[in-house]
């Protein structure tokens, strides 16, 4: 028995997302369609302006014939499902040890100063949300900010400000290392080992 508490706006997949969802469901046997809960939630979060509301959970649960509480368990277990509304631009700053050692405190200070908000908060105009995240898995380019599924790396105070101002102005800076001229996570100033095997110095081998 599912007692619904739907009270916010209704949610429904757009036709193209519905088609996409059908494709996800096709990956699993009909009796195991609950397996698709995570991709479907991710897609729904994308469509629902970056967060998962109660109607979203119940919509997905009904679609997968799951008890509502089971979906809520998944949503609350994973931090990347957001349970509160977020701004248009979600800026996720990594503050785990490697990023912290490489100066994430400066990056955080720049964000807070530029946006005027703290972690977990959204600007009054609903434009920006600032989030603190655990290890983004890009320690080699620490410190790191994740934004719109891209990583902005090798940041410091100035470059972070530049990055945020650009978003405010409607430009998007190219992702990747910001303060260094290295390519992705390649060593600064070109390779230091195995030089003789490099086809093009500093380039992809």
């Amino acid at each position: 028995m599912n007692i619904s508490v739907r009270n916010a706006e209704a949610f429904e997949f757009t036709p193209e997302n519905l088609k996409w969802a059908a494709g996800q469901l096709a990956k699993y046997p009909a009796s195991r369609k609950q397996s698709a809960v995570m991709p479907l939630l991710t897609k729904a979060q994308e469509q629902n302006n970056g967060w998962i509301s109660v109607p979203v959970m119940e919509y997905i649960a009904d679609m997968l014939e799951m008890p509502y509480i089971r979906v809520q368990e998944v949503v609350t277990f994973y931090t990347m499902y957001r349970q509160k509304p977020v701004g248009k631009h979600v800026i996720e700053v990594c503050t785990t040890t490697p990023c912290w050692l490489r100066g994430s405190d400066d990056v955080v200070a720049a964000c807070k100063d530029e946006l005027g908000i703290g972690f977990g908060e959204t600007t009054a105009d609903g434009e920006f949300t600032l989030l603190e995240v655990e290890c983004a898995g890009a320690c080699v380019n620490a410190p790191v900010i994740a934004y719109k599924e891209e990583y902005y790396e090798d940041l410091d105070n100035d470059s972070t400000r530049k990055f945020i101002r650009a978003i405010k102005n409607g430009d998007i800076i190219a992702p990747g290392p910001q303060t260094t001229d290295r390519h992705k996570s390649a060593p600064q100033g070109g390779p230091t080992t195995l030089k003789e095997f490099c086809a093009t110095p500093g380039g992809d081998s």
Binding site: M1, I3, V5, Y68, I69, T76, F77
Partner: protein, 685 residues
């Protein structure tokens, strides 16, 4: 069949058994929190760690399948240190508030800490605190005490079939909760209190009212439905404080319904504690002598055929036997127990029993429900039907309700049964293919206007689909009244049924009606007759009574009950009744003397001896009867299109005790409210 060596003891266990079960077979006790015999294995508490030779580290015995040649140590130093470590971690976030915790004295964590812990805990940092959760009117929550064993979550999913509970968040922030703060709307919800190994979930109505060591426990039998669940009544002084289930594998396993558990406060309110006589249109207190005088004056010169007796749902065999004796001595033969107007007769016992047996459901592979919602009529039995639904197929005829499992709906009129008998439909094929099919007729089916035809159809369906064989009888009547089978055995049935007596009273053919605890029918039809009501509660029955004789409730008398299977069980007296109230058979015995035809017994032992001489099968305590299958019962006939409905609308309000209970009234409000609210929100959304 693997053989293991446990602490040097060799044991052989069945394939599929776990190491923990093997340890138990060897007589070694393994501490545990999350493991429970009747729930799926979760393996998260780590309390059951044991040492297995050749394994690099301790293993969780509850989740490890027993294997051939395993050598297990349960009392080595490594195991001891393992347990100490687990307990220290468990205690990290568990508050030490035992003095204000209701679980104190019967707490698994408390007991196991005393038995298995090491030194004092070393943890000095801040502890986790969880905000209060609301699980509804029956379960008090202090989730800060929760150790995340997830027994309650697994119970809700697997046993109750109401997946309302879950663990949200993760790690240190995990909380057990209901979905979006909705109450745990299950009629079996109270069982999570028994399952909870700590004081996170406790009995809300019982909160702070007693400590376990103050209570005197009596093992007895429940009467709130016709299951005859084994219960333990805990009393302090002259008050029953709570009911707990006892294990009876063939009946209730170890579960009881919320009504069985929580209608306990109904035993305190609305009680009849002295006789009353109607004088000048008003009920006025009287003495026993005056009450008997009034009855005997009224009965003077009245012929036996002007007298009738009706019997309610909660009566014990002894009082019904005395009732029958008294009325027969007065010359009356109009005795009736079928309040709901059921059409089964008393001639064939197999025609009104749950012949398969409650544990027999576990063998069945197909089931047809007719006019019943077992969830409301026998909540604990519904657990077994849920398991059946996973193995086989269940179909229903009658109203569509949420049974907690899927059922194929065949229709809501008797026609659906006729079609099935004719072999029409897909379900007929499944039934034909089933090895052990069964049919369950609920009160809604047998009390239907065409109830006699339904019985006949069900009889023929049982014959046609191989439900009857040497070792299998798949024909069942699901009763909801604890007294019913006993009353049927005693022959408290009249040709014209309950309606005949009520009609007679309206027409003036019947002048005197003895009412032994009948409260569920429209008794205003007895207005013209002189009604003697004997019962425990001031409910419907007293409204139209002229004399009230205060009887006692089921906890206040030793009594015998026969459950729906025909299993005879003895209930015990837990406490004495209030005020002037007396055990029912003694009232009838005293009254018989006043009326000049003394019943021939003075003690309950003499009564039972006499009763067992008349009905030898009443002496077969706790045995499942095996009744012969009759050629035919019920009456074939033309049937109407009147829909078959379910008789019990409100699970929480089925008898005088439940109706007097404030807790049951709260449940009714909370759960009906929750459902209503949910629907309203859906339409708004």
């Amino acid at each position: 069949m693997p053989t293991l060596k446990i602490d040097g003891i060799e044991v052989e266990v069945e394939g599929g058994a776990t190491v923990l079960q093997a340890c138990e077979a060897a007589g070694v006790e393994i501490p545990r929190f999350c493991f429970h015999e009747r729930l799926s294995i979760s393996g998260n508490c780590r309390m059951c760690l044991v040492e297995m030779e050749k394994a690099p580290k301790l293993i969780a015995s509850c989740a490890m399948p027993a294997g051939e040649g395993m050598i297990i140590h349960t009392n080595s130093d490594k195991v001891k240190r393992g347990r100490e470590g687990v307990l220290e971690f468990t205690l990290m976030n568990h508050p030490l508030d035992c003095p204000v915790c209701d679980q104190g004295g019967e707490c698994d964590l408390q007991d196991q800490y005393i038995a298995y812990s090491g030194d004092d805990a070393r943890y000095e940092d801040e502890r986790r605190i969880v905000a209060k959760e609301d699980f509804g009117p029956l379960i008090k929550t202090v989730m800060t005490r929760c150790i995340h064993c997830t027994r309650c979550v697994r119970f809700a999913d697997e046993i109750a079939g109401v997946p309302a509970l879950g663990g949200i968040g993760r790690g240190d922030h995990m909380e057990i909760t209901t979905y979006q703060e909705q109450p745990f709307a299950s009629e079996l919800s109270g069982n999570v209190v028994d399952l909870c190994p700590v004081g996170a979930l406790t009995n809300k109505p019982y909160a702070f009212s007693a400590r376990p060591w103050e209570l005197k426990s009596t093992e007895t039998i429940d009467v709130h439905d016709a299951m005859g669940s084994s219960i333990r009544a805990d009393a302090r002084g002259r008050e029953v404080m709570r009911f707990l289930p006892r294990v009876h594998e063939d009946v209730n396993e170890e579960w009881i319904s919320d009504k069985t558990r929580q209608a306990v406060d109904g035993l305190k309110y609305n009680r009849l504690d002295q006789p009353y006589i109607r004088r000048d249109g008003k009920m006025q207190p009287a003495s026993w002598e005056e009450a008997f005088e009034a009855i005997s004056a009224k009965l003077k010169g009245v012929k036996g055929d002007k007298i009738a007796g009706i019997v309610g749902d909660l009566c014990d065999l002894e009082s019904m036997y005395a009732f029958k004796g008294l009325l027969n001595d007065l010359g009356s033969s109009a005795l009736e127990c079928r309040q709901d107007g059921a059409k089964y007769g008393g001639r064939h016992r197999a025609g009104y029993l749950f012949n398969t047996g409650i544990s027999g459901i576990d063998e069945a592979d197909a089931c047809l429900l007719v006019g019943t919602n077992p969830r409301k009529e026998a909540a604990v039995l519904n657990i077994r039907l849920r398991y059946l639904a996973k193995r086989g197929v269940i179909a229903s005829v009658g109203a569509v309700e949420n049974l907690t499992y899927p059922a194929v709906h065949l229709g809501d009129t008797v026609r659906a049964l006729e079609d099935l008998l004719a072999g029409k439909g897909k379900f007929a094929k499944s039934l034909k293919a089933a090895k052990k099919p069964m049919i369950i007729l609920g009160a809604g089916a047998v009390s239907h206007p065409d109830g006699a035809a339904v019985l006949k159809l069900a009889h023929d369906i049982a014959d046609k689909y191989g439900m009857i064989s040497k070792d299998w009888n798949g024909f069942n009547v699901l009763h909801h009244a604890a007294s019913r089978v006993g009353a049927m055995d005693l022959g408290l049935v009249s040709d014209k049924g309950m309606d005949g007596i009520l009609d007679g009273a309206e027409k003036g053919d019947i002048n005197i009606v003895f009412n032994l605890g009948v409260d569920e029918i429209d008794l205003s039809r007895l207005e013209k007759a002189f009604v003697i009501y004997q019962g425990s509660h001031g409910d419907e029955g007293v409204k139209y009574a002229d004399v009230i004789l205060p009887g006692v409730a089921y906890t206040e008398k030793p009594g015998t009950y026969i459950n729906m299977e025909g299993r005879v069980q003895k209930a015990q007296r837990v406490i004495f009744g209030p005020g002037e109230a007396r055990e029912d058979w003694t009232i009838l015995r005293a009254l018989s003397e006043k009326l000049g035809s003394r019943l021939p017994y003075d003690t309950i032992a003499q009564l039972r001896e006499k009763m067992q001489a008349d009905y030898p099968h009443f002496a077969n305590i706790d045995q499942l009867p095996n009744e012969d299958w009759p050629e035919s019962f019920g009456v074939a006939g033309k049937t109407s299109d009147a829909p078959i409905t379910n008789l019990i609308d409100d699970f929480y309000q089925t008898n005088p005790i439940a109706r007097s209970s404030k807790v049951m009234a709260e449940c009714r409000q909370a759960y009906e409210g929750a459902k209503f609210e949910a629907e309203a929100m859906v339409t708004n959304g």
